[in-house]
Amino acid sequence: MLTALEFNQVPAQEAAFRSEIRQFLNEALVGMPSHAKARSWMGTSDDFSKKLAKQGWLGLTIPKEYGGSGKGFFSRFVLSEELLASGAPVASHWIADRQSGPLLLRYGTEAQRQFYIPRICRGEAFFCIGMSEPSSGSDLASIRSRAQRTEAGWLLNGSKIWTTNAHGCHYMIALVRTSGETSDRQKGLSQVIIDLSLPGVTVRPITDMAGDAHFSEVFFDNVNLGADALVGTEGQGWDQVNAELAFERSGPERIYSSIALLDCWIDALRAQAIQDAETSALVGAMVAEMATLRALSLAVTQKLVDGESPAIDASVVKDFGTDFEQRLISNIAAWLGTHPEFIASPDLLQTLGYLEQMGATFSLRGGTREILRGIIARGLGLR
């Protein structure tokens, strides 16, 4: 059930940590143009991820015995917020850090934890998530990729698509069928770890309309996996995935995807001394909504601290947040159209161009708007 989200501050002791991150980012990202920042958590740099690892900032909430920093959810919120708002290229390690590490910590065997998690924390193991398939988008339970038991482990066949950064990753954690038929829906699904360098695995990047390749298609042709490829309990993949999605949906990722454009535009308004009532009102409306979303996201973080699994609350924040991220783009585009004399720099227009083109994915990735609203409706008792 959906309950009220109460205001809470970022704890005061996180201030020093934020300053430390800010100083690091100011040096590491000096001279980065806005249109590169707009790639945000779709921007890739193995080198940058390794630098963050050296700082001890991968696996921030992972216990020290597994190579993490053992910090809390609010430290993680601050780090994520600083990385996203500065447009740091975090895609290489983002999924491993946000989802795969915590997932293995929760469901993995001790051997799996010992093998993978320290590598994640060192920036040596990048993960992607294999969920969607060509015939299974929002209807995730209809997936057909199948891992069959063999004497040595599992034999994997099938394919995944729209996998973020698969071509830059070492491992995939995939949701696959291990028993039953497609008609069995959620039953018989399991999560497996796939080493993407194994024979039979083909990764094909998909070039998007903005000229980048953030997503990939991944094919499995008689891929032999060891018995230890299974994550968690056989047949419990659906529940495990949903617990994982609560992590994915609860962070500040869903507020700041368009912030490079907002900052770039506001800087230009300041430089050209534009302060008319209509422009001020648009700036204020966007900032008010961003602040409200930040408070909602912090409230979800507090629920994580309290040991709750705020899956529905996280869906509220994600859907609200992606709507904000998309409206920010269309509002600024419309404002530019109303002000043809405005001096828009190439960087501003390239930032806008990128976000206009890829902004459509903001309400697709990690669960579409319609799926999320269905989850909220269930939380409200309508289904």
């Binding site: 959906l2 989200l5 970022v10 991150i21 917020e81 708002a85 506001i266 204020g284 309508l382």
Partner: protein, 349 residues
Amino acid sequence: MQNDFYDSAERLFGEVCTPAVIRQIEGGADTAHLWSELSSVGFADALLPETADGAALTLTEVWPMLFSMGRHALPLPYAHTLLARAWLQQAHATTCAQAQVLAQGLPEGTITFAPFRVVAGAAGVQAAGVNFGLTANWVLAQSETAVWLLPTSQAQRTPSGGHGSLDADLSWSADVAKASLLGQFQQPQFRELLALSLAVLIAGAADRVFEMTLGWANQREQFGKPIGRFQALQQQISEVAEQVFGARMAAEMACRSTTWQPAPALVALAKAQTSQAVARVVAVAHAVHGAIGVTKEFDLQLYTRRLNEWARAGGGAGYWSGVLGQQVLQANSSALDFVRTELFAEPAA
């Protein structure tokens, strides 16, 4: 909101401010009985210091009560009165010590604010479109630097809003105005206090309207099942849930204070965010309820009419977004740093 204040406020308002009472007062019934029941528990002095026999609570502490006032659409400016009394107490102790109208102490009854559309001249004072002007006992009004505490019992009152509205045009003679003058103030005193009152009331009323909408979606059956089972309505109701959560959070943020006074930037945020939510919340609530929702007998309209009025009263989303936007444009920080330092009181990074 599990809080003793909230629970007792919900209980009290639920008992004494029923839809029937709202209808009577909109029909012109006297408000004295409702006010005596509401004020009997002493909420009105919640924000006053102990030296003035108040409860010395902070705005943060009374926030749940204010939210509950919105949920019950109290037909009196109760939230306004709490803030007005705190303002008067402070002004009396400082600038307005000699004011005749405060010679007997703080006034009895409810107080509303008139920070806009107040005109003073030889003929007296006129305040147009005063929020709760029909039911308030007093009006704290400002025109340029002059500030008055004006008794509505001595005003000419004309209803100024649509059907059922409690807003009014008020005018006072020169003699009453003279006796009601509190003093001169260089800055506008009541814009934020009115905006905060309304932002919190909107958040509360939106919560109530959402609750009713959800209840109706689960109860009303068409095509052989509750209409809430249809995806077309689920999608809209989920979207409204987000807006209601956002409005509530924005209002709660504006009540973050260790004193009775709100932070002006947070008031601008809250009035902007709550007001912009209203159109969608009201539209979906009525869409889900169908034709029954616009009937006199059905309670939904008691709350949606008020939401529409409150969204534009005292400056709507455009006005307060503009106030906040001016501050952003005059600052020299990134959007995130503005939000962190000015709206969340976090230190600079």
